[in-house]
Symmetry: C2
Subunit: 298 residues, 2 copies
Amino acid sequence: MEYEEYLTQAMTTMAEAVERQLRDLLPVPKGPEGRLVEAMRYSMFAGGKRLRPFLVVTSADLFGVDKKYSLRVAAAIECVHCYSLIHDDLPAMDDDDKRRGQSTCHKKYDEATAILAGDALMTLAFEILADPATHPDALVRSSLIRALAGASGVHGMVGGQMIDLASENEELDMGEITRLQQLKTGALICFSVEAGGILGKASEHMRHLLHGYARDLGLAFQIADDLLDYGGDPEEVGKATGKDAGRGKATFVSLMGPERARRQADILADQAIEHLREFGDKAILLKGLARFVVDRRK
Amino acid sequence: MEYEEYLTQAMTTMAEAVERQLRDLLPVPKGPEGRLVEAMRYSMFAGGKRLRPFLVVTSADLFGVDKKYSLRVAAAIECVHCYSLIHDDLPAMDDDDKRRGQSTCHKKYDEATAILAGDALMTLAFEILADPATHPDALVRSSLIRALAGASGVHGMVGGQMIDLASENEELDMGEITRLQQLKTGALICFSVEAGGILGKASEHMRHLLHGYARDLGLAFQIADDLLDYGGDPEEVGKATGKDAGRGKATFVSLMGPERARRQADILADQAIEHLREFGDKAILLKGLARFVVDRRK
């Protein structure tokens, strides 16, 4: 219990720090384009766990990286995450009206503004990473950008979203769902952890361990998400639940049933923690997070 | 006349080279995400003058940059240009059914696929630039990325698009229209020329000259575009004309009238050419291009 409080506290502190960073990076300009930045800020500061930023900063901490660097990378990744949510919520995509208990970006503004806000957030992510303020070593910056682009494009997040759309009325099997999720949500989670290793110029071996952790964590996270959609309280979750079943969408829960899915998420969390054994107590937050993502109720 | 043929030939050769490059960079993957890449390729290989790639390669040539580098940068910028067209054509934006004489991406596929294809093309642009194959010096790669992101985001292309949407029923004056166009189309044209300077590690002075050229060229290009919309033949232009007037949109032509706009475009082309005087005959293609953009009929 004491430990859980420690993690929650660390997550809150980190979320606040990354939000300060993001506010600095998103000043509202004068002129008609100000509305665009307002829409970006509206979606960006709608709450959220800031899980990916937490992963960046916490994994960078393993290697003693200055937070002035890792917080900027954390902000960049949150821009990508936020852009993906704005575009996913669009009428042509998932057509969602609510996100984190408030109107989605296209509902609050309009579709055109939401499309552009997403585009601009993605662009901002790369602009942040390419800025020398993010790391003095250009090779580090370039490696971060390459890894982020790889994780977000056709062979990552956007590809996963395409598979998701294409398979709305298809019966996916476990292998296919796992692949879909590894692209759609897993790739960006993996990058978040990988970014810490890039910033810290970690050894191949260390990066390998981090990657194993991130892979299991990402899958555990997704199964927990499916469980929340299946059985969560919409008030607490902050968005409509039961959507997947309503759309006849195959999920880990629809394929395995809730009990097996729950067990599977627990096993994955244990595995994730096991990958970090070598890091000992230094990795206590990352280990705690693995438990947190499967136990969370929103 | 002989000279014009030389330029046209060079543009065709360069367009073919950059298209080969793009085909290599866009292999269609197996699985349901293949549709996404098909949509990207559909829009990417719909023709087009490849003006921005031509600017990259030709300005890089001034500094003797190996084409294996400049062609990759050219491909990246064409990805950004193409993504912006796909998103601009969406029903929530300009709602265009035709582009370069064929159905727009969302008409040929669907809106969701078009949104994702745009997203994936933008991501690909940064992935290309961050790849060591684009330039062995990470500082060059990082500078290219920073400049491209700056030119494409809130303070560039996307910001310009936002202003354009926000001012559909506003009376813009010359200053406002100039600013809109400098963001919406000018920024990416400036980056294309700037990229040659970055790749060639050009001196501050050289970059300054190139920037002056690109600024005038961009504006001349936009006025010529407005003139085509005003008086062009839809068959020849490859898309509907008279759209701006139909929407009551202020353009350079609506503010200045076609004769003054034509003269202004000519003056800007002359100015653009003048900026490159120091480069002498080495800049013959860039100079010719300035004439070409104002004289083109599509």
